[in-house]
Symmetry: C2
Subunit: 225 residues, 2 copies
């Protein structure tokens, strides 16, 4: 029987590549997506399609009402989504998002008796997010091993971050090699209901630039007009 | 203006004492309770009463569907609640519960720009829970300071655990001094709808023994018959 892994799957380009890699490495992958009050559902629709196509053994969507607290352009309608790449911590940062998501992945991992969690954090393109840095991930893994029954019993929980030091272009080349159909993924912060991207927000700009640098045609469906 | 704190408030004896102490120390307390698929609502009703009476500035209930994953006698109807204090990690352990709750407290703390989280963990009576140990709490605090905008900007998040090294009897004496009405709190794993306790589960036994050792009459309402 192959080893189990929880894979955080947003429906974006990065996490789809992570799932493809975990599957290719032989893990039996349980995909975990979050409904955390995103402005659109297209990202979650993309996550289910991607989970099926890349061969996850199951996918679950966990409801997480972080919008209750506000504080991010991604969940708070009173904060506008920024239209350009900005310095420092972006307004689209959701408070403690990776910590909350990894914690819930940890809960599921304990129930499944699974010692592997995959997350598509990436310190290069998103250096403004504190919870994407390698030192943060190491601290989470250390905490997780003290938090859990498995840790107490000496089984080590590993947080896999295969994209940690890759540029967006390198991620796109890796995903392409692994057979990810990026036209199915949604990265845009303000995609429409069909998943078509705005082409103007931070995420769209980083993604498009990544395809250009990778020398791969951008398959993203953009909104027209 | 007084300093803000998030206080995790379950409706039990321990967290009520923690809230009383945080209020007495002058913190402006935002109480955070979780609806995580507990078998009964009495604990959440107790949490609202306690929050009001002890002077929290607000209380919020966060819905957390940990029952979706199963794995604990507290949330999984297929696992029976144990009737006696057992060795090792109890069946009533909810996978990664403190990690998930502290992570969500961290998200709220970031939004409120608040640098204090209070949690009523206690390593003496509940030594079977890995996520109640001081080394776990230290690891969480370290991770939290790497995870957050505040941490990046040099403001230190403190996880306060005032009950960490107290026995149940010492907690009861402390709460009594601080004016906590313990008859309002619910510790029982299988309380009825009115909040009356079974008197037989782990939590009831530890609580009753605590009152005996403290030399304080046990005000708990027990189920009759």
């Amino acid at each position: 029987m192959s080893e189990a892994a929880i894979v955080l799957l947003s429906g974006g380009l990065d996490s789809a590549t992570v799932l493809a890699q975990a599957v290719q490495r032989g893990f039996s992958c349980h995909a975990l997506s979050f409904d955390y009050g995103q402005r659109h559902r297209a990202e979650l629709d993309a996550a289910s399609r991607v989970a099926k196509l890349l061969g996850a053994v199951e996918q679950r969507v966990f409801h997480l009402d972080l919008a209750m607290f506000g504080g991010s352009a991604l969940t708070d309608p009173q904060i506008a989504v920024p239209q350009a790449v900005s310095e420092g911590i972006p307004l689209t940062y959701v408070p403690a998002r990776n910590t909350v998501m990894l914690s819930i992945a940890l809960a599921w991992a304990e129930v499944l008796d699974c010692a592997n969690i995959f997350i598509g954090v990436n310190a290069v393109d998103y250096s403004g997010y504190p919870d994407c840095r390698p030192e943060y991930i190491e601290a989470f893994a250390h905490m997780a091993n003290l938090a859990t029954r498995a840790g107490v019993e000496g089984r080590i929980m590993t947080i896999h971050t295969p994209l940690q030091r890759l540029s967006k272009a390198q991620i796109i080349r890796l995903g392409t090699r692994l057979g990810v159909d990026f036209s199915l993924t949604v990265s845009c912060y303000q995609a429409d209901e069909s998943g078509a991207a705005c082409g103007r927000c931070d995420a769209c700009r980083l993604r498009h630039r990544g395809f250009e640098e990778a020398g791969i045609p951008d398959p993203t469906r953009y909104q027209t007009g």
